[in-house]
């Protein structure tokens, strides 16, 4: 089995002096001017261990990708991507070479910045007389009362959603102007107003950070978390899906 960390340019560059997952040494497999950085697993069941969703493994994967990012352009591969052998990896490099080159050019000298915003949507969660409450006493209440309670809940949820979309839009627009690509989700959870990632030119990071500070001042009731720079995980997702393909089981 072979565990994959990233696809990179500059195949001639030396690998970081870091151990791979499970202590296995890092290896680089080159196809033309791209390289895949991986580590070999030998023990039976190693794929299960390697992809074990433990924080220490995730951070080790991340440390390797970031070390690579320090001196080359990187297409990070999702944590837990395991291929059958070097031949399988080579065939992926060959088949997707053009796509890898295009992606490497796109993310060259760019980093991913992550933004999360929390809000307090007070009063948006129905409490007294909700459909669930009514259903708990359903032997005593009518189906009509249940449907009307559900209707009220839906109307409240819709109003909450609209308010969230408006707020999120006001936050997103100035940040999107500083990015070349972005992805976002509104209200992934009731308190997580915005969860977004931005692909930003490395030299614009300081401006982006300043804009986040401005937004924090402009929206004092919201709480902003901005982290980075990260490898561009959210901007190579299609390639990642192809990598997973049929090769990781």
């Amino acid at each position: 089995m072979i565990y994959l960390y990233a696809i990179t340019d500059r195949p001639e560059a030396a690998l970081p002096a870091l151990p791979g997952l499970e202590g296995a040494p890092l290896i680089s497999l080159t196809y033309r001017d791209v390289a895949a950085v991986a580590s070999l697993g030998t023990a039976p069941g190693v794929s299960t261990k390697l992809s074990s969703l433990e924080a220490v493994n995730i951070w080790q994967h991340e440390a390797i990708v970031e070390a690579l990012m320090s001196d080359r352009t990187v297409l990070p591969v999702r944590f837990g991507t395991v291929l059958a052998d070097e031949a399988a990896l080579h065939s992926i490099l060959k088949a997707q070479y053009a796509g890898f080159i295009a992606d490497l050019e796109w993310v060259y000298s760019r980093v991913e910045l992550s933004v999360q915003v929390l809000w307090d949507s007070d009063g948006q969660t129905p409490t007294d007389g909700s459909a669930k409450d009514i259903n708990c006493q359903r032997s005593e209440v009518s189906g009509r009362a249940y449907m009307l309670a559900r209707l009220t809940e839906e109307q409240q949820a819709q109003a909450c959603r609209q308010q969230a979309e408006t707020l999120a839009s006001g936050i997103r627009l100035p940040l999107e102007r500083l990015a070349v690509e972005n992805t976002h989700q509104v209200l992934v959870t009731p308190r997580l107003l915005l969860k977004a990632a931005y692909l930003v030119d490395r030299e614009r990071m300081a401006i982006f950070r300043e804009e986040i500070n401005n937004l924090s001042l402009a929206y004092p009731t919201l709480r902003f978390l901005c982290t980075g720079p990260w490898p561009p995980y959210n901007f190579v997702s299609n390639r990642e899906t192809n990598l997973l393909g049929d090769n990781d089981d």
Binding site: L118, N135, M147, E154, F208, G228, Y233, N234
Partner: protein
């Protein structure tokens, strides 16, 4: 990687520190994919994994039907007895879903599917 536990983010990665990272960690934990990309095929976990998938799809259909009914109520196209009948049906379905969730040890927030860039199914 940007979805990992916010409380463990190294300081040099914090471009804007909101003070209380635990609140973010809690929300991001909830935002994680409730269902894995693949069904766990080990004999002990497979029944629960399949139940989770099936109940998620039933819950999706239940919500779709319920929302359609609510739109018709809003539009005034349902008679009182029809609203009553629909309400009774949805109440029974709700109760039955709660029973099934209890049997398989599932919580409401576990019944969902991550559709990637489209967000969660429910």
């Amino acid at each position: 990687m940007t979805d990992i536990d916010a409380s463990h983010i190294p300081e040099d990665k914090l471009l804007c520190d909101p003070g209380n990272l635990e609140a973010f960690a809690t929300e991001l934990e909830q935002a994680r994919t409730p269902l894995p990309r693949r069904i766990n095929a080990d004999p002990e976990g497979v029944e629960r994994g399949l139940a989770k998938l099936v109940l998620t799809l039933i819950e999706l259909l239940r919500q779709l039907l319920e929302r359609q009914a609510l739109r018709r109520i809003e539009g005034g196209s349902l008679r009182e007895e029809e609203i009553e009948r629909l309400g009774q049906t949805f109440m029974k379905l709700d109760v039955r879903m709660d029973e099934l969730k209890q049997i398989f040890g599932l919580e409401d927030e576990e019944l969902n599917l991550n559709l990637g860039p489209l967000g969660n199914l429910l």
